[in-house]
């Protein structure tokens, strides 16, 4: 973990990105509004939000699947959004890979595992000979805890957890630098989730990867993420390192999310309060909201007056902690 704020290398920057979709009417639907953050090399950056928050849209924009309508995305110092050369485009596809939510839906059910995993190699001719390709597939399967003899099987012959391993192997075989993992464990059973999370952590350490981990569940994210961004209706409302976000959540939406994580304890659950998010309690003056840095590395989406309120709250919490 690179917790020193000093010189951390930025691998990917999302700069004031907005993404909108045509609706057929004059008015466009804006799925992501002015997202602005950096992801550092070697970290796991989590993007947490509910359905419709724009988290997946933003993830897909990084992979050049959704075009940005405003702003730009920089990867290793080069712009990768908008019009770029064909060569650059291939470079992005190779270096940024995706792990999908539902492994059953993302694997071609009529192709063998060998083909599924080799697909990227074929597309980019990343092998010298057949023997080399097979060696690479075997290695990728072993990396994710599957056996080389699984190559000839079909996706339906695997359990959910194994299928997700195939999905991960498919991404890893490209030797990517950056991985967008879109709810990689949401479709899996509790006991399998832990396996896949451990595997992702192991691969990250071994291959010096950077993850953008998209999720809706804060309890999972706490375990895996170094930093967390909370997104609500297309707007990033809070960014902080993982410990800080749990210790001193500031934005009321973050607090509401945190309060809805069910805890595995009947006594605690009986008295645990669920806090509904009520936007009408926010500053209604119409003042402009911005993502502002309230403490080094801790950003919150606020108007001037809200920011003062958060500052006051934070100060009193810090006082108390002393």
């Amino acid at each position: 973990m690179s917790n020193e704020t000093a010189e951390r290398e930025v691998i990917l920057s999302v700069r004031h990105v907005s993404i909108s979709f045509d609706t057929g009417h004059k008015k466009k639907f804006v799925a992501v509004k002015d997202a602005n953050f950096d992801i550092y090399k070697g970290e796991t950056f989590a993007l947490v939000g509910e359905s419709g928050s724009g988290k997946t849209t933003l993830g897909r924009a990084i992979l050049r699947i959704n075009p940005c309508s405003e702003g730009e995305i920089i990867f290793e110092g080069k712009r990768i959004s908008g019009n770029i050369s064909r060569e650059e485009d291939r470079n992005v596809v190779r270096n940024i890979q995706m792990i999908f939510q539902d492994p059953a839906a993302s694997l071609n059910e009529r192709a063998t595992i060998e083909y599924c995993v080799s697909e990227g190699l074929y597309n980019f001719h990343l092998y010298e000979s057949e023997a080399d390709r097979i060696a690479k597939v075997d290695k990728a399967l072993q990396d994710v805890g599957l056996l080389p003899e699984h190559k000839s099987r079909y996706p339906h012959e695997f359990s959910g957890g194994q299928r997700q391993r195939v999905g991960i192997a498919r991404a890893m075989i490209m030797n990517p630098k950056f991985i967008v993992a879109d709810e990689p464990i949401s479709a899996l059973d509790v006991s399998i989730r832990a396996q896949v999370l451990n595997l992702m952590n192991k691969l990250k350490a071994e291959k010096n990867l950077t993850y953008l981990f998209i999720a809706h569940d804060l309890s999972v994210v706490r375990f895996i993420a170094d930093r967390i961004a909370v997104i609500h209706l297309g707007e990033i409302v809070e960014i902080a390192d993982s410990e800080t976000l749990f210790q001193v959540p500031l934005h009321p939406y973050t607090i509401s999310l945190l309060s809805s994580v069910p805890m595995p304890d009947p006594i605690v659950e009986r008295t645990r309060k669920h806090i509904d998010y009520d936007p009408s309690k926010l500053d209604q003056s119409g003042a402009k909201r911005e993502l502002r840095e309230i403490r080094p590395g801790h950003f919150v989406f606020a108007t001037d007056s809200e920011f003062e309120g958060y500052e006051e709250k934070l100060r009193s919490m810090e006082q108390e902690a002393k």
């Binding site: 509790v190 006991s191 399998i192 994580v261 595995p264 009947p266």
Partner: protein, 357 residues
């Protein structure tokens, strides 16, 4: 809980088989369960453990290739396993025993109005006039928290959000004041903040209307919130059951230990999360001994040979594991889930990761 409570439905030794191509799969391998009037019982288990299949025997909704090959389900003096046709089920399914399914979009008809889908149930089961049914339907919509119910009566499912749709499904299920409500993963397809609202809604309605709730879920957090009693299912059997406190704070079956230990809420950053190796057993083959044995690091020799019986832990708590046999070695539950309550309390108290004002 007091012992004078009535058993409302009683399943005895239920076995369910499915014919898949030329083979038979035993999805439920002898499950017995008594539900008490007014309680909330939660069945937890992973996918394929049989939790949904088992409860489908309560409403006769097994897929057409499935049959109840053994056992009985007694409800008001009637053996539900003997009912065959839809006509036999009339007056029970949807009227006395209702089900809420996981995905509200698939339980609602997309091309009919919300209102007509609720009134249909009321008219069918109560045989009252259209106008009266509409009045009741609007009342029900208000009860499940739909604002401006009368105005939204003629809208279609796509005009409702996911949480609102699930509220409608609940309204339909409760329209005939059932005695038992089966909730099959009712919140799995919903967002976390909505999940909390739906759970609260079901609980409030239960208090008001007094039905018995049977929850099916894989989420132990939800179980802790809703249940009075819990049954853990694995490989087509209930392997442990007891009050929610007993199962969470004094679990006895190694599978229950494993399930609790792999919760991400208990994970410590930088360390490996606990996980269960291997995969659940194939139900096509006959299972010898304890179904969990091959994945169980604490498995005894006998676990591979002979199926364990239920051992009594307390009057309300039973577990199906040889570890409770007096001859078995004494084993502590894993470190992660020792002092579970203290750990979680620390997390939710001031200064803890899940503390909120």
């Amino acid at each position: 809980m007091d012992e004078t409570r009535n058993v409302i439905i009683s399943a005895k030794d239920v076995e369910v088989k499915f014919r898949v191509r030329d083979k038979y799969l035993t999805a439920i391998r002898g499950v017995s369960l008594d539900l008490y009037e007014g309680e909330t019982f939660a069945i937890v288990g992973e996918s394929g453990s049989g939790k949904s299949v088992f409860t489908k025997t309560f409403t006769g909704m097994l897929e057409s290739n499935g049959t109840i090959s053994k056992g009985s389900v007694m409800f008001h003096g009637k053996d539900l396993t003997k009912l065959k046709t839809d006509k036999d089920w009339e007056g029970i399914r949807g009227a006395k025993i209702s089900t809420i399914f996981q995905d509200p979009m698939t339980s609602l008809n997309p091309i009919r109005t919300i209102g007509s889908q609720i009134t249909e149930v009321i008219e069918k089961h109560q045989g009252i006039s259209k106008a009266e049914a509409k009045k009741q339907a609007i009342e029900m919509m208000e009860r499940v928290g739909i604002a401006n119910a009368a105005d939204r009566f003629d809208e279609y499912p796509f005009q409702y959000s996911g949480g609102m749709r699930q509220r409608i499904v609940i309204a339909i299920a409760l329209a005939c004041h059932p005695e038992i409500l089966i909730c099959d993963e009712p919140t799995t397809a919903l967002d976390v903040t909505i999940q909390a609202q739906i759970i609260t809604l079901i609980r409030d309605l239960q208090k008001e209307l007094g039905f018995t709730t049977l929850y099916i879920t894989h989420d132990l957090g939800v179980v802790a919130n809703v249940a009075n009693r819990v049954g853990v299912m694995y490989g087509g059997q209930i392997i442990e059951y007891g009050t929610v406190e007993e199962v969470f704070f004094d679990p006895r079956h190694p599978y229950t230990w494993a399930l609790l230990s792999s919760l991400p809420q208990l994970g410590i950053k930088g360390e490996e999360l606990f996980y269960i190796t291997g995969t659940p057993p194939s139900l096509f083959n006959e299972i010898k001994g304890d179904a969990f044995a091959p994945r169980n690091e604490h498995a005894l020799k006998v676990d591979f040979v002979q199926e364990p019986p239920f051992f009594k832990v307390s009057d309300t708590h039973y577990a199906k594991t040889w570890l409770l046999d007096p001859r078995a070695p004494k084993l502590e539950k894993p470190e992660v889930i020792q002092d579970l309550h203290e750990k979680i309390k620390k997390m939710t108290d001031k200064g803890g990761a899940f503390h909120v004002e």
